[in-house]
C-alpha cells in the first residue's frame, strides 16, 4: 500500500442538480442490471418461468375449461401474475441491501435520496419487460393473438408494466420496513398467490362460487387482467358482463390505481430511505 496522493476536490459537483439526479438514477439502475446478469435465479425466473407458465396453463387446462379459446383468455392472466410477482424483487432486494450494509454506503454519499429506489424499481421494470417479451413470444407460438390494434397492444403492455412498476414501490417500502428478504419472499407468496388466483386471471368469474366471485370482482388484479384483455381484444363476448364498477371500467381503474400507488408510496419510500441504516 503506497502513499496517498494529494487531496482532490471532494465530491466536485459536475452538472446541474437535474443532471446529477439522472446520473445517480442511472448508476443505481446499472447496479441492478448487473445483478440481473449475475444472479442466475433471477434470470431463470425472468425467462424460464413465464415460458413454463404459458405452456403449462395453455396446454394442460385448455381442455378442462369450457372456453372456446382458452389460450387467448389465459394470456392476460399470466402477464398480470408474472409482472406482479416480478415487482416483489424490489421488496426482497431492499431488505437484502439493508442486511448487507450497502445502504449505509449509499446514505453517506452525496447522491440523490431517491436514486437507490429509482434504480431498484427500474430493475424490476427491466425484469418485467424481459418477461413480457418472452411471454408474448411463447403465447404467440401457442396461438395467442392481439385482435385490436398496435395501439391496443402497446396500451396493454404499458398498463401491465406501469402497474407493476408502481407496485414495486409498495414492495420497496415493505422491504425497508421488514428488513428480511426471507420474510418478504414468504409474505409475497402467501398474499400474492391467493390474490392472483382469486381473480379472473385463469378462470372466468361466472364460474366461481358467489363469495369468491364477489371478492374476485373487486380484486384489483381482476381489473388489471380485464384491462389487458380489453386492450388486446381477448375478451369473450359469450361471458355475462361484469357487475363491479372496477371491471366495467378496468382501464380507468388501473390508471387511477397506478397514480394512487405512485403518489402515496414514492414519497413514503423516499422518506423511509432517509432514515434507514443497517445494523
Amino acid at each position: 500500500m503506497s502513499v496517498v496522493t494529494e487531496q482532490g476536490t471532494p465530491g466536485s459537483s459536475s452538472g446541474s442538480p437535474l443532471a446529477q439526479w439522472f446520473s445517480d438514477g442511472w448508476i443505481a439502475t446499472r447496479r441492478n442490471l448487473i445483478k440481473i446478469k449475475r444472479v442466475p435465479d433471477i434470470l431463470v425466473f425472468t425467462i424460464l418461468q413465464p415460458i413454463m407458465f404459458v405452456l403449462l396453463f395453455s396446454q394442460v387446462y385448455a381442455g378442462a375449461m369450457a372456453i372456446d379459446n382458452y389460450t387467448s383468455f389465459l394470456m392476460a392472466g399470466i402477464f398480470a401474475q408474472t409482472v406482479i410477482f416480478g415487482s416483489t424483487y424490489s421488496g426482497s432486494a431492499m431488505a437484502q441491501d439493508l442486511k448487507e450494509g450497502i445502504i449505509d454506503r449509499f446514505r453517506t454519499l452525496p447522491m440523490s435520496t431517491s436514486a437507490v429506489l429509482i434504480g431498484r424499481t427500474n430493475g424490476d421494470l427491466m425484469i418485467n419487460g424481459i418477461s413480457m417479451l418472452i411471454m408474448m413470444g411463447t403465447g404467440w407460438l401457442v396461438g395467442w393473438r392481439v385482435t385490436t390494434s398496435f395501439w391496443g397492444l402497446l396500451g396493454g403492455i404499458s398498463l401491465l408494466l406501469l402497474f407493476a412498476y408502481a407496485f414495486s414501490w409498495v414492495m420497496a417500502l415493505l422491504g425497508m420496513s421488514v428488513r428480511s428478504p426471507e420474510v418478504i419472499n414468504n409474505a409475497s407468496f402467501m398474499i400474492l398467490f391467493p390474490l392472483t388466483f382469486i381473480s379472473n386471471a385463469f378462470v372466468p368469474l361466472h364460474t366461481l362460487p358467489t363469495v369468491l366471485r364477489n371478492i374476485a370482482e373487486w380484486n384489483p388484479v381482476s381489473a388489471l387482467v380485464q384491462s389487458a384483455r380489453v386492450l388486446f381484444g381477448n375478451t369473450d363476448p359469450s361471458f355475462p358482463p361484469p357487475t363491479s364498477w372496477t371491471l366495467q371500467n378496468p382501464v380507468i381503474t388501473i390508471i387511477i390505481g397506478i397514480v394512487l400507488m405512485l403518489l402515496i408510496f414514492v414519497p413514503l419510500c423516499i422518506r423511509k430511505f432517509g432514515s434507514i441504516s443497517s445494523r
Binding site: 487531496q7 471532494p10 448487473i34 450494509g101 454506503r105 449509499f106 453517506t108 452525496p110 447522491m111 443497517s278
Partner: protein, 330 residues
C-alpha cells in the same frame, strides 16, 4: 479550529426491553488534521457516534457539526466532505471490487473517467488487483473490508470516519492500513477512528476519547491517559522466596512509593520516577545482597491498563486483590 464537533449528543433507541441510551450527552472536539481515537468497550456507543456524525442517523438530542456543517440540517453538504467506512463492510456483493469503487466514484459525481482511474488506483493501493474483476460475493472477509475502506477514500475526503478499520485484517494488512492512515494524515486529512485495539489507538491517534455508557469518560493523548494511572514501575521476580524481604527493601529504597508483592510473593513491583536509573540502582543493591533474579524490568502502563481502569470492573477487582495482598504482607 475544530473540524468535528459534538455537543451533548444523545441517541435513544427504543428496544423491546425499553429505551436504550446509546449516546448520553457525548461531547467531542476534533481539531483539523488530527487523528481522534474513540475507545470503549462493546456497546459503549462508538458506532452510534460515528453514525450520527456521518449523517446516517439523527440524534435524539444535542448538536454536531462536521466541516462546519450541521449533520442534521446540512447532511448532504456534510456527505461531500467525508469518507466513511463503517463497522461492517458496506459493499455490493454482486458487483466486482472494481465496479463497487467505480460506482462510489460516480455517485460522488467524479465523472466516468476519473471514477475509473481512481478505482484502479485504489485497487492497487489495497493490493486487490488479482481479485478486482471477481464479484465481491467471493471475497474473504479481509478483502471485503479493504474494498470498503477503499470506498471511503474514493474522493480523498477531507475528513475520514473509520469504525474499527482493522478488525478482521491479517497482521500484514493491518500494518498496511496503518500506513495508509498515517499517509492520509500527513496529507492533512482529519481521521476519526474507533478501535478495540489499544495498540492501534496508541500508534495512530493524536487524541483519544474513552467512551463508556454513551459519554466520554476520559480524554487526552495516549501519554496523558497513561499518566493518569501512574508512571513507570519496576517489576521483578526473585528465584528464592526467602529473599523477598531484601528485595522489597531495595525496591522501597529506590522507588517512589510502597512496593507491592503479588502471587506467590516472588514477584513484586514499585512505582518509580526515573525508570532506568532506579532499575540500575535496584539491580546493584540486589546483586550486592546476593539476591538471584528470575526476571526484572521496567513496566510501562499500557492503554489496556487505562482502559480497564477507566471502564470498570476488572480494575476494581485488581484493587481488591492488591488490598488483600497488602494486608497479608503487613
Amino acid at each position: 479550529m475544530a473540524i468535528i464537533e459534538a455537543r451533548g449528543l444523545t441517541k435513544i433507541y427504543s428496544a423491546k426491553t425499553g429505551p436504550v441510551h446509546a449516546l448520553d450527552g457525548l461531547d467531542l472536539t476534533v481539531p483539523k488534521g488530527t487523528v481522534q481515537g474513540l475507545l470503549g468497550p462493546n456497546g459503549a456507543g462508538k458506532t452510534t457516534a460515528v453514525k450520527v456524525l456521518t449523517t446516517l442517523i439523527k440524534p435524539t438530542d444535542g448538536e454536531a457539526s462536521v466541516a462546519g456543517l450541521d449533520v442534521v440540517r446540512e447532511a448532504k453538504a456534510v456527505r461531500r466532505s467525508i469518507g466513511v467506512s463503517g463497522q461492517y463492510a458496506a459493499v455490493d456483493e454482486n458487483l466486482t471490487g472494481f465496479e463497487n469503487l467505480d460506482m462510489v466514484g460516480r455517485l460522488y459525481h467524479l465523472g466516468k473517467k476519473e471514477s475509473r482511474r481512481r478505482a484502479t488506483e485504489l485497487i492497487e493501493m489495497f493490493e486487490l488487483t488479482a481479485a478486482q474483476n471477481r464479484p465481491v460475493k467471493g471475497f474473504s472477509g479481509g478483502m471485503r473490508r479493504r474494498i470498503d475502506l477503499a470506498g471511503a477514500l474514493v474522493t480523498r475526503p477531507e475528513i475520514l470516519f473509520l469504525d474499527e478499520p482493522t478488525t478482521g485484517l491479517d497482521p500484514r494488512s493491518r500494518l498496511g492500513m496503518w500506513d495508509v492512515i498515517k499517509n492520509l494524515v500527513s496529507d492533512g486529512t482529519t481521521v476519526l477512528l474507533t478501535t478495540q485495539y489499544l495498540e492501534e489507538a496508541d500508534q495512530l491517534a493524536d487524541n483519544i476519547a474513552v467512551i463508556d455508557g454513551g459519554k466520554v469518560i476520559a480524554e487526552g493523548t495516549s501519554d496523558e491517559l497513561k499518566a493518569r494511572i501512574g508512571g513507570h514501575r519496576i517489576e521483578l521476580t526473585i528465584i528464592d522466596a526467602a529473599d523477598a524481604g531484601a528485595a522489597r527493601e531495595a525496591l522501597a529504597r529506590h522507588g517512589a512509593g510502597e512496593p507491592r508483592s503479588s502471587g506467590d510473593r516472588r514477584t513484586m513491583e514499585v512505582p518509580v520516577e526515573e525508570g532506568a536509573i532506579a532499575l540500575q540502582r535496584v539491580l546493584t543493591d540486589l546483586s550486592e545482597a546476593g539476591v538471584q533474579l528470575h526476571d526484572a524490568g521496567i513496566r510501562r502502563p499500557t492503554l489496556d491498563d487505562v482502559f480497564l481502569k477507566l471502564t470498570g470492573r476488572i480494575a476494581e477487582e485488581d484493587e481488591a486483590t492488591n488490598e488483600a495482598e497488602l494486608e497479608k504482607t503487613t
